[in-house]
Symmetry: C2
Subunit: 203 residues, 2 copies
DNA sequence: GTCTATAGCCAGATAGAC
DNA sequence: GTCTATCTGGCTATAGAC
């Protein structure tokens, strides 16, 4: 690793600020309703300057999605070294983390099936590689949790994996938060419970 | 009820064809990516003609959502008269129905939080009334299912209701269908199971 | 690399003839 | 009510000066 010059560090910091703004906006309104003008205004620079950093609106959003996957990967690594926890507890910790991120307004919504963002993501090697790595790690945990009986062995691991991804972007926490009757912690607990135990509960 | 003139019947049929097209497009791409041109092309009439029937793109989508709620209400009425089924079985039947609709590409996706559609829906008396009625009916069943121990009594009914609504628009079935490894019936069974019993299953 | 100003395009909505 | 043709606004993206 070569040290970064001062100029490069400034660039990094600026691009991180840009991606943070993109991330918030993606969580708030989604890709289609997010405008590049808003991103520029949020960061405090001109729109044309944004296009010096990122080639397109799609590239902007894709970079934010990659950053989110990197954070997920870091979270998985962190959970991997826990000696005190079963795989199921690790999985639950990851879902809890995602739900908390979502309630904080920092979890981008899934791109809809026909979005131009989808095409960009499917042609992004960085994104696909990260997604693959993360999915493999989660897949290992899922299979192991099934072997231990904590997750229903009758479910294909694929179904479990997709379900976990979907829960990370579930609209239910936002609905409950908008209702204003419950604390964030309660919401997280309930959604996590319905994810693992279903509506039926433990009974 | 007065009988409808021939002209009025023709109008009804045409508007129903329009709403069917809107429904398909809402399910396929969502409100933001759906264009009025596509709707017109799908129905086979000119765009200007659409605007003789509906005042705006939002009104178009709102009418389709109202129609979907009417269908849900009809489904609830149908389940209400089943003597052979518990409330939990009725709830499951409704979720199953929604999942099958979704796999058939006929379930509109939820409007994102900041969509202009949301404002339209919140100011539509027909929509809000219908939503209230179906929510009350579902709410009764939920409370009863909790009393019978089939649904976790620790969950606020609101949480259960929102979860059911969210599952009806869940992206998981579409993901699994896109994978191409499973039949529609299998997908419905698995998603319904993870909804009621969680990832943990019955064990 | 940052800015202001603008090009180019697309989609929602409308005008006006029939 | 249906059509063709057009207006209008907003958004992505770029030109060109500094």
């Amino acid at each position: 690793m070569s040290r970064l010059s001062f100029r490069e560090q400034v660039l990094r910091v600026r691009e991180d600020a840009i991606l943070s703004a993109v991330n918030r906006l993606l969580a708030d309104k989604g890709f289609d309703l997010m405008t590049v003008d808003e991103v520029a205004a949020d960061v405090g620079i001109a729109k044309a300057s944004l296009y010096k950093h990122f080639a397109s609106k799609e590239a902007l959003a894709a970079a934010a999605m990659v950053r989110m996957l990197q954070r997920l990967q870091a979270m998985l690594d962190q959970q991997s070294v826990r000696a005190d926890a079963s795989v199921t507890e690790r999985l639950k910790a990851v879902v809890r983390w995602a739900l908390e991120l979502q309630l904080a307004g920092e979890m981008p919504t899934l791109p809809s099936q026909n979005s131009s963002l989808r095409a960009e993501l499917l042609s992004s090697k960085a994104y696909l590689n990260l997604l693959l790595q993360v999915s493999e790690k989660l897949g290992e945990w899922i299979v192991q949790a099934q072997a231990e009986g904590d997750i229903d062995p009758a479910l294909p691991p694929e179904v479990v994996l997709y379900t976990l991804y979907a829960r990370a972007c579930d609209p239910v926490p936002a609905f409950l938060k908008a209702g204003g009757n419950f604390s964030d912690a309660q919401i997280v607990d309930w959604v996590l419970s319905t994810c693992m135990n279903g509506l039926r509960g433990r009974g």
